[in-house]
């Protein structure tokens, strides 16, 4: 196992030919520094946040295949044939790393977070993380600890809520000049 010495490593998962390292958020910066310096992952390609609120339960995307059986009140067959594996916490934050080497090795560093739980900034490891972290805060509401400029990036500065969360409604934006103000 090449990634055994990574600090705070909780679990290594292999799926679809990709390697994911689940890391304890408290030791994320240590883990990232080691991956950059020892494993050659010089480039942070992407930070992707995912909200798993309502994962595998009815109500968000309209399932019928629930643990309670078929829900006749939701006749649209968006149902799952099997319930997806439960997730440890509500949010996952995925750091996609790339090594500029033959074979283009890639790895995904994954941390799991509850609502409001901050994740340390990896700006000191890869300066390019700046906007990606601000985007994770802006659109998904993941607080970035130690970021020197923790402002919204995409939405307006006075925006309320985090639009990519599962509990943020579609059409949640008030329509201006609609006569209902």
């Amino acid at each position: 196992m090449p990634f055994e010495g990574v600090p705070g490593l909780v679990e290594t998962r292999e799926a679809f030919g990709e390697t994911a390292l689940v890391v304890d958020p408290a030791r994320l910066v240590e883990a990232c520094t080691l991956l950059r310096d020892e494993h050659g992952f010089e480039m942070l390609v992407d930070i992707a946040a995912t909200d798993y609120l309502g994962w595998g339960s009815p109500g968000v995307s309209g399932y019928i295949g629930t643990a309670q059986g078929r829900n006749l009140n939701r006749p649209m067959t968006q149902g799952l044939q099997a319930l997806p594996a439960p997730k440890p916490k509500r949010f996952s934050l995925n750091y996609h790393l790339l090594a500029i080497q033959p074979g283009a090795p890639r790895v995904r560093v994954q941390v799991w977070l509850d609502d409001g739980e901050p994740v340390p900034s990896v700006l000191s490891v890869w300066p390019g993380a700046d906007w990606f972290e601000r985007e994770a805060w802006d659109l998904m509401g993941i607080p970035i600890g130690g970021h020197p400029y923790p402002e919204r990036l995409i939405m307006d500065e006075d925006w309320e809520g985090h639009p990519l969360r599962k509990d943020y409604p579609l059409g949640g934006e008030p329509v201006r000049f609609s006569g209902e103000e």
Partner: protein, 427 residues
């Protein structure tokens, strides 16, 4: 084709150490000693300015004509593509992908379709794979042509715009011939192509392949040794190898900083490992080298298109889409004779196909660099999460590093040389 202009000191390091601003890597702050003096003029540049390539707002601090502070604001064309895609069935979500980067539409479509296929474990017939490569490369030419035309336009070379848009029109005509649409074709379907390649496409495409190298030579003749173009681009907007990697730069920006890296060659997808093409790399890390990289990339794309055509012509009559009936629509004529086909058709169109649970990250080399797509599925008929890794997003992060000490007029050339598409940055 002329070789790159030899410039004195070409092998020197671009600059020593790092120039990434600290503590905020994407904001260049004015020296506090002069910040509140009358010498500093703060100018708002954009969001609606003809040379911002979309709606980018830069708040620029000037000392005379020299840029001493810059702060980029994005988000003006945020439309919630990723949120919308979560609400659509997988095959309807494909329609959204090309609109994210409206110049590299075919590459965006490709990366999302490849991500779905990776989750499904679906085999794609060779004919479809070759055609996907061909269209992706035509799309790369298209994107670089728009960049070249507008970047030169911003520096006053208006005639370039007419030349490049003439050839761009040829690419769009080919798109129209294949898919019926000039842009946002939605021609890549899960499992292959939406339709067979129409008769007459190969000869038309051959004509284009023959024409294009001459056109590229013309562009280069107009610009490469043009004194004004050189004055406005050589040695400006510097980014060295180390900073480019630290800031996550990819594509032409990275290759112009001397990093020999192209996903098509180093992490091959489709059949890029079966074609021969050259990857242009230039060492100087300036605006001029980013221009050189893109010019030579167009030539490389023409080479690839030609090789794809050779293969495709031998695959006449082969299937263009997989025959997996759980994912791919059955042939139209079967609906009249086969009950199963009718059921499959109905199920796929109404509720959509289900994609196995899992998460994947797929990356392709778009005209702007590494275009990634991170997709999460819960095993249902809609994506749980779609996240696009936009190369322009990363490229704009390098603005503050590149424009240090530049003149305000060069700021336009430097930001233009990043070839950003704001639709992709804001998503």
């Amino acid at each position: 084709m002329a070789l790159p202009v030899a410039r004195p000191g070409q092998q020197d390091p671009i600059y020593e150490g790092t120039r990434i601003p600290s503590p905020i890597p994407t904001v260049l702050e004015v020296d506090p000693a002069v910040k509140d003096t009358d010498d500093i003029l703060t100018v708002n540049f954009g969001p609606n300015h003809p040379s911002t390539h979309g709606v980018l707002r830069l708040i620029v601090d000037l000392d005379g004509e020299v840029v001493v502070g810059v702060h980029a604001k994005v988000g003006y064309v945020h439309t919630g593509f990723e949120k919308n895609m979560e609400q659509k069935s997988w095959w309807k979500a494909i329609t959204y992908a090309p609109r994210i980067d409206y110049l590299a539409y075919q590459n965006n479509e490709l990366v999302f379709v490849l991500a779905i296929e990776k989750l499904l474990g679906l085999e794609v017939p060779p004919k479809a794979t070759w055609m996907r490569m061909l269209l992706s490369e035509l799309n790369r030419i298209h994107s670089h042509l728009v960049w070249l035309g507008t970047a030169a336009l911003e520096l006053g070379a208006i005639s370039m715009f007419w030349y490049t848009f003439r050839e761009r029109e040829m690419v769009l005509d080919l798109s129209e011939l294949v898919a019926g649409y000039r842009m946002h074709t939605r021609y890549f379907q899960t499992g292959g192509l939406a339709e067979d390649i129409p008769a007459g496409f190969y000869p038309e495409c051959r004509k284009f392949v023959e024409w294009m190298p001459k056109a590229i030579a013309d562009y280069d003749a107009l610009l490469a040794k043009n004194e004004i173009w050189e004055d406005r681009t050589v040695g400006l907007g510097l980014l060295n190898r180390r900073d480019a990697i630290a800031l996550g730069q990819t594509g032409p920006v990275l290759r112009a900083s001397g990093v020999d890296w192209d996903l098509r060659r180093d992490d091959p997808y489709l059949y890029y490992d079966r074609v021969r093409f050259h990857v242009p790399v230039f060492p100087q890390g300036d605006t001029y080298d980013r221009y050189r990289v893109r010019i030579e990339e167009m030539q490389a794309s023409v080479e690839i298109v030609e090789q794809c055509l050779d293969r495709l012509e031998r695959l006449e009559g082969e299937p263009w889409i997989s025959d997996d009936r759980k994912v791919v629509l059955p042939p139209r004529e079967e609906l009249h004779t086969s009950m199963e086909s009718l059921i499959h058709h109905f199920k796929i169109v109404t509720e959509g196909y289900r994609v196995p649970e899992g998460e994947v990250y797929v990356a392709v080399e778009s005209p702007r660099g590494e275009l990634g797509c991170y997709v999460v599925s819960d095993g249902g008929a809609r994506p749980w999460r779609v996240k696009f890794r936009a190369p322009s997003f990363a490229a704009l992060e390098a603005t503050a590093t590149m424009v240090q000490g530049a003149y305000i007029a060069d700021l336009i050339a430097i930001v233009g040389s990043l070839d950003t598409v704001m639709g992709e940055v804001d998503r």
